[in-house]
């Protein structure tokens, strides 16, 4: 490339609108969130309880019927794992921001973990295995944002 020739670049912008159909199982989960309740469903073969609920247990390849095996669960759980992000996520400027704490929480009575923010905690207060509790949104809407995060019990 010794010659400095301008090569045409065609620039474009595509705006993309996508949906994600959550399906009937997750829909029921979100409906319960609106009433500040956590539900899961149970594999009839291995007994594993899924939060959020799902149609198929991959371990047993068993379909969990939509109308059956629902389990009411508490809004408490155990912190299984965590991470701390000192920078704004998705921020290209690498701006230092307030520490954001994210944790994997196993809801009591379930065999799975969900990832949510940990609230009102300083990084040196976090310990794997600690008991945590859901901080509900003031006005739940029936979507994932109904759980604001988890706080120490």
């Amino acid at each position: 490339m010794s010659e400095h020739k301008v090569i045409v670049v065609n620039k474009g912008m595509v705006r993309a609108d996508y949906n994600f159909w959550v399906g009937r199982y997750l829909d029921k989960f979100f409906d319960n969130l609106e009433n500040k309740k956590i539900v899961g469903n149970k594999c009839s073969k291995c007994g594993d309880v899924f939060v959020p609920p799902r149609k198929i247990c991959g371990k047993c390849n068993v379909v969990i019927p939509l109308e059956e095996n629902w389990v009411d669960l508490p809004d408490t759980g155990i912190l299984k794992n965590y991470t701390i992000t000192p920078y704004r996520v998705n921020d290209r400027t690498h701006r230092k921001a307030k520490d954001l704490l994210l944790g994997m929480i196993q809801i009591d009575g379930s065999n799975t973990a969900i990832v949510y923010r940990l609230l009102d905690l300083k990084p040196d207060e976090i310990k794997t295995g600690m008991k945590v509790k859901i901080e509900w949104a003031e006005k739940p809407k029936g979507d994932p944002s109904d759980i604001k995060g988890f706080v120490k019990m």
Binding site: N10, K11, G12, V14, R15, A16, D17, Y18, N19, F20, W21, V22, G23, R24, Y25, L26, R54, K55, I56, C57, G58, K59, N61, V63
Partner: protein, 416 residues
């Protein structure tokens, strides 16, 4: 030479314009349930490997095969994703075939799954991701994006199919009535198949011709719908297939051949073709697959065909290009009922892509239906015995053709 491969089963999910009652993984699991229901002895433990595919970017989820692993029964098993645009389903089926044919130790039975949940995504954005080079240049030429998406996303790639239609119609003196007749046959056939989308048992030629043009000469009533749906096929060895089902369907030839891209050629993928109805890729893939299957007279030896035709002009074109009828004679065959359910060479008795188009799945639904016709398990079963059938797919950069030749006899005349 690879192993003889057989199809033991095939299954579908219910198709509709919006399957918002299920997520993508659940939609896929429906097709797998149906597939395994058709082969009662088969359990997930019997399946050794998985092949999966859909149109890239249409739903905005890349790598869906990895998050739906559990829903496919593929946990802790080999899994491969293939995607080739509109032909994805055909390619996934062929990849399932290859996996069995390779004869690897401990890999005998393969489940191939193709799907699309178009209602989640944005088809024009999806197409943009497939043909961005073309589209960015059209934008700079002054064709704005919303206008472009109107041309490209009304069902499928109608902007290109329109040129294909005009070229074909000029060469063969086809009329709009001929096109409408194909549509009527398809939609009426679809009404007799449980999983299809556009079921129109009482549709008439006049009704089709009464709808407005979307892109001349294609009218609204002639264009395929955009569907949500999934399809699954079970490939296995000759020996195992005999235990899994009553009538194994042997795969005796596969081919997937691309010729030059048939759009504008701006994106550097090839020259713009002057006649997009040439479709040399279809002729080459049929030559190859028929040769592998030992078919010398396709018209005589093939009893049933499923061809990939979102638009009716394509159906006429494909049946000619695939050697089923002489060039320019296809419209006559539809008029005289040769291609009807009770005809001499029934075509698309499931209603074809013209009645149901979940893009990533469509090119697999063709060999799947063609296989079920041999097994005698199709919903809209043809009354005569089907010994040999073909399933065809079209897509890629509008230039790729996939073909699978199936028979109730394993190939005896394999020539190298």
């Amino acid at each position: 030479m690879g192993r003889q491969v057989a199809i033991a089963s095939a299954g579908f999910s219910e198709h509709a314009s919006k399957r918002s009652d299920v997520n993508m993984a659940e939609l896929v699991s429906e097709a797998i349930e149906d597939c395994l229901k058709n082969a009662p002895g088969v359990e997930f433990d019997d399946i050794d490997a998985f092949v999966n595919g859909n149109m890239p970017a249409f739903e905005g989820s890349n790598m869906p095969e990895l998050w739906m692993t559990d829903w496919m029964g593929a946990r802790n098993k080999p899994l491969l994703r293939v995607t080739t645009g509109g032909t994805t389903g055909g390619t996934v089926a062929i990849a399932g075939y290859y996996t069995v044919a390779a004869g690897l130790p401990k890999v005998d039975t393969v489940l191939a799954i193709a799907f699309e949940q178009q209602s989640q995504g944005n088809t024009s954005v999806g197409l943009a991701s497939v043909a961005y080079g073309e589209i960015s240049i059209l934008n700079t030429m002054g064709i704005p994006y919303d206008q472009l998406s109107r041309l490209l996303s009304a069902g499928a790639a109608i902007g290109v199919a329109a040129y294909q239609a005009t070229n074909y119609m000029r060469k063969t003196k086809t009329t709009e009535e001929d096109l409408a007749r194909v549509v009527v046959q398809n939609r009426q056939n679809a009404a007799k198949t449980w999983w299809t989308h556009l079921k129109m048992p009482n549709l008439t030629v006049e009704e089709v011709l009464d709808t407005p043009y979307i892109s001349f000469p294609l009218r609204y009533g002639m264009v395929c719908p955009a569907s949500d749906g999934a399809c699954a096929m079970l490939f296995t060895t000759e020996e195992k297939a005999k235990d899994m089902c009553e009538i194994p369907v042997y795969v005796n030839g596969v081919a997937s051949v691309a010729n030059e891209t048939a759009v504008l050629g701006y994106d550097g993928s090839g020259t713009g073709q002057i006649d997009p109805s040439d479709q040399i890729g279809a002729m080459k893939s049929s030559e190859l697959a028929y040769y592998q299957a030992g078919i010398s007279f396709p018209r005589k030896e093939i009893d049933y065909a499923e061809v990939y035709s979102p638009f009716p002009n394509q159906e006429l074109m494909w049946v000619e290009k695939l050697g089923l009828f002489e060039e320019t004679t296809a419209p006559k065959m539809y008029e005289t009922g040769v291609t009807a359910l009770k005809g001499e060479l029934p075509i698309n008795c499931s209603g074809g892509v013209n009645a149901t188009n979940a893009i990533g799945a469509s090119a697999m639904e063709r060999p799947a239906e063609a296989a079920l016709q041999i097994m005698g398990k199709a919903d809209n079963q043809v009354p005569k015995t089907v010994h040999t059938s073909i399933g065809h797919g079209w897509g890629g950069s509008l230039n790729l053709c996939t073909l699978m030749v199936m028979s109730d006899e394993p190939r005896r005349k394999w020539r190298r």
